[in-house]
Symmetry: C2
């Protein structure tokens, strides 16, 4: 399959849906403008695409889970806005654009993040968005996403990351931070799509294993790109992790071992996806692509 | 009825439930500690109590909606943590205790707020918490709460409040800020309880009118207390609104007109509550108490 064409087509569908779910409005004021500024800053839409693919992998209709896909992107975007704040990573540039607090000030940036997180909750409970889906499945998917985003997932990982700055690199801690800060929401993306599409417990379990592995691999590849990537291609400064004394996989285990760990994870993830049959082939290809982009 | 005894008994029930829904845990680390620090800082639990009373007013069991009551308190607490940040109101004291960012630093305070907001979403979709309730009603209550918290409600009001600092007091703007920043979540508290308890559309409409009125009155009474209250009794500095150039109702309309507006609102609210019969009597008494505390 042509993975790049598939990703690009899915990204366009997600962008259109996000525009429907958070349209510009003169009544929205500065807060809506700030929320949209970050939401439409050119993200790859990886989490929504995983959600749609998770639904397809178990035989579901991707359009029926689009509301959840968009909620995941809102949660991801909120986490970036807060992560970029001066009190956190203090990043001025993201995806080639100035970060929210540089443009709107810190107060409005905090609120824009809050607004996006809350809007995800609005979307996950919107009867006009979930339509004919079984409300118990909607709640189960919502629970999956919320736990992944919360203090036992992403928020917990961000806190651990913040507290670990300038400490001696430690592989177990790096793995905990990766699993929670990035891995949990990536896994929840593919799992929530499968839940909403009525996947069996076994299918959901397989996709959870897939999601955890690509979540870790994705963070490892990000760390490697920060070490060796091209700033023009990435749209952000490189070497920022080192400058911030960040605890990364390459810093804790060395770049070669990090690359090997990433390769193992995506190979296992691809095998898990392929065990679900041809409808999960895009997930398998996507897994293998994660480490390819670091070559 | 003895309103103070009723409030105190309800507050204890809510405190016990919050302890069950967000227990201390050595694995929770600094982030859970920070979340609990603010959640158990001695709040009055007004929003949860309103949620329980909303359920009772339409003939429901308050214990069955406790998960929603607790989610509302988590959302309220998150909003206080973020509101107190240096980039927002820059308050060092809240309920007689140091604010989150003073104790834990700005980064962790932002995350503690995020963690509480997300935990509310976890709770609102937790099958072991909502139990036998109709999942469609759970989603409808969740939608009500999320919209009230979001950019068209509380977050929007906080943004408008932030942008209005040091501008000329304007009554229409004050009313918008009050209705969104405080009023929306207070109204959603009583409404969500009624929705979950299976209230009729007419009952829900009546309670929405009640909630909006007490929400505005509550903010007016808060503004009056900031102007004339006793810091020892309030557990926070007074005169902070003036010092920050905050747009308040007394500043825009004068203290006498503000008091009159508050009295009218609580009288109308009490009448709406009493139209629902004796089960809504606590709501009527509570409304009248809001302005009494400013005397």
């Amino acid at each position: 399959m042509d993975l790049k064409a598939w990703l690009s087509e899915r990204k366009d569908l997600v962008d259109q849906a996000l525009e429907r779910y958070l349209p510009a409005s003169p009544q929205g004021g500065a807060i809506l403008e700030a929320m949209r500024y970050s939401l439409f800053a050119g993200g790859k839409r990886l989490r929504p695409i995983l959600c749609l693919a998770g639904a397809e992998a178990v035989g579901g209709d991707p359009q029926a889970v689009m509301f959840c896909a968009c909620a995941l992107e809102m949660i991801h975007t909120y986490s970036l806005i807060h992560d970029d704040l001066p009190a956190m990573d203090d990043d001025r540039l993201r995806r080639g654009r100035l970060t929210s607090h540089v443009v709107y000030g810190e107060g409005l940036a905090v609120l824009a993040g809050d607004g996006l997180l809350t809007q995800a909750m609005v979307l996950m409970s919107d009867a006009s968005a979930y339509g004919d889906l079984d409300p118990r499945l909607v709640l189960a998917a919502s629970h999956e996403v919320a736990r992944a985003a919360g203090y036992q997932g992403m928020v917990g990982g961000q806190a651990a990351d913040l507290l670990a700055e300038n400490q001696k690199p430690d592989l177990a801690l790096v793995q905990f931070i990766h699993a929670t800060k990035t891995g949990a929401l990536i896994a929840a993306s593919v799992v929530s799509g499968a839940i909403l599409a009525g996947g069996s417990p076994e299918q959901v379990r397989t996709l959870r294993g897939y999601g955890r592995r690509i979540g870790l691999a994705f963070q490892i590849s990000d760390d490697l790109l920060d070490l060796t990537g091209d700033p023009a291609k990435l749209g952000k400064e490189v070497g920022a992790d080192q400058a911030h004394g960040k605890m990364t996989y390459p810093a804790a285990a060395g770049p070669a071992a990090a690359r090997q760990a990433g390769e193992n994870l995506v190979r296992e993830a691809a095998e898990l996806a392929r065990s679900l049959g041809p409808a999960a082939e895009p997930l398998a290809e996507l897994a293998l692509y994660i480490m390819e982009r670091t070559h």
